[in-house]
Amino acid sequence: MNKRIEYIIEKAILLSGIASVVFVILIFIFLLKEGLSLFGTENFFSFISGKNWYPISDPPQFGILPLILGSVFVTFGAIVIAVPLGIAVAIYIAEVAPLRFRDILKSGIELLAAIPSVVLGFLGIVTLAPLLKHLFNLPSGLTALAGSTMLAFMALPTIVSIIEDSIVSVPRNYKEGSLALGATHWQTIYRVILPAASSGILAAVMLGIGRVIGETMAVLMITGNAAVMPTSLLQPVRTLTATIAAEMGETVGGSSHYFALFAIGIILFIISFIINLLADWFLHKK
């Protein structure tokens, strides 16, 4: 009897293990099932490269290039801000900060990671947007730059913790060898430790990009939501994610607009899949 129960439990454990694979496949299948329906009536190439996103005009136009570029602009800006900052913070925490201060800083970073994105979106509307409006003399502060700044902030906990881990896991004797040769601590950091941690830094950049490109609520709230071809970071933009969030509520199930939003989902899914595989590859590269 006991053997029987044990057998059932172990099978349940095996199934639970496999469940994650099933979920990934299910997610992809359901995105494909709804999203591919769009391409019965629309041309895939004009979907990807069309410059007009007018989903509710008659006839509707489903060109997602402005949305892709919106995501690219916001992500690019965020990574440019977050990566150097993340490297600096990670070095400071891992190598420079006094022990007690280090714990405080780490809790601060963890706290940042815990703030829900909708809250940061709200704070972006009331603080960051007016600041940018004033700073650059814009008609509205709700721009790609606002999104980039806020997303840089949101991506930092991920970036910092991965880079910090990879700095800490640089073998001790690298550091000691360098110090023994008379290099200063700082020379050791940027000549020895950072190069040795480079694949971790690349992984952090990849995961940072993944985090930023998939972010939805804060971006929806602070990038100004204009689905037009962006030309500068100081313009309102609309990202892929924000488009789904903003428009799905108004679509009718089974309409081409509904299918088009799922098709955007397919693209997001594939992008995040590739980015995460790359990040994992960098992390486990010897």
Partner: protein
């Protein structure tokens, strides 16, 4: 020589400034939320229904909704996550299946939250309607990677020798897991579960089309009902309803952030205590 020392000093100071540039806004955010939100927190605000198109009254249904969603997420994700971690850490061999599962988990962790929303809409909403059940299932799958990863780490921290002793006494693999490994991993597992659930409670995108109600001035009666939820309510109050007093906005945010924050403190307390007590 003097020069390199000075370079180092400048570099380290620059690093400190950049670090403070990141940490200071975090501290400021919490200070602002407390200062502006605290005056709004009254028993009436917490325990009454919204009135005047959500411009007055309380946020009780949103609090209850978020509580139900967290509970629903827990019911589905905790057993599944823990068992999956047990499989990976205690049973799985180093083979293609294990590698496939690991890659799947990494990708589940990276799927954008709005894509979970689409998936929930495509699968769970078509099965159960826009409901607490559909929202909980969507959030549960999203939370799974966090719980699996944390549980796996906790299991992995239990020394090999514990298992070997158990086997040598004639215990089977499952008996060893149940009586030796799991009890020693409980604090780590709880920490992971709390962090996963607190993240789920703050998510908006996955619940947008699966459960969230714009305005619902009564409490949900069953798992097939829609519900209000704090994160979505914050979105509504800050972008969809004109002329909401900032007191109500900050009050609502403080309730959500306070919940998430307290859960995080509990988690890090448990983690710290566990690390100290560990004597092996």
């Amino acid at each position: 020589m003097m020069n390199t020392k000075r370079t180092e000093k400048i570099a380290f100071s620059a690093l400190l400034v950049l670090t403070l540039l990141v940490i200071a806004p975090v501290v400021m955010i919490f200070a602002v939320l407390l200062i502006k939100g605290l005056p709004a927190i009254t028993p009436e605000f917490i325990f009454s229904m919204p009135r005047d198109g959500m411009r007055a009254g309380g946020i009780f249904p949103a609090i209850v909704g978020t509580f139900y969603l967290a509970l629903g997420t827990a019911v589905f994700s905790i057993p599944l996550g823990i068992m999956a971690a047990i499989y990976l850490n205690e049973y799985a061999a180093q083979n293609w299946l294990t590698r496939t599962i690991e890659i799947a988990i990494i990708n589940l962790a990276g799927v954008p939250s709005i894509v979970y929303g689409l998936f929930g809409l495509g699968l769970f909403v078509s099965l159960f309607g826009v409901s607490i059940l559909a929202g909980s299932l969507t959030l549960a799958i999203m939370t799974l990677p966090t719980i699996i990863t944390a549980t796996r780490e906790a299991l992995n921290a239990v020394p090999r020798s514990f298992r070997e002793v158990s086997y040598s006494l004639g215990a089977s693999r499952w008996q060893t897991v149940r009586n030796v490994v799991l009890p020693n991993a409980v604090p780590g597992i709880i920490t992971g579960v709390i962090l996963g659930l607190s993240r789920a409670a703050g998510e908006t995108a996955p619940i947008l089309f699966t459960v969230a109600a714009f305005y619902l001035p009564h409490l949900p009666q069953s798992v097939y009902d829609q519900a209000m939820a704090l994160p979505y309510h914050i979105y509504v109050l800050s972008t969809q309803v004109p002329n909401v007093s900032s007191k109500i906005q900050y009050g609502t945010i403080l309730v959500l952030v306070g919940m998430v924050f307290i859960l995080n403190i509990i988690a890090s307390y448990l983690r710290a205590r566990f690390r100290r007590r560990k004597t092996w």
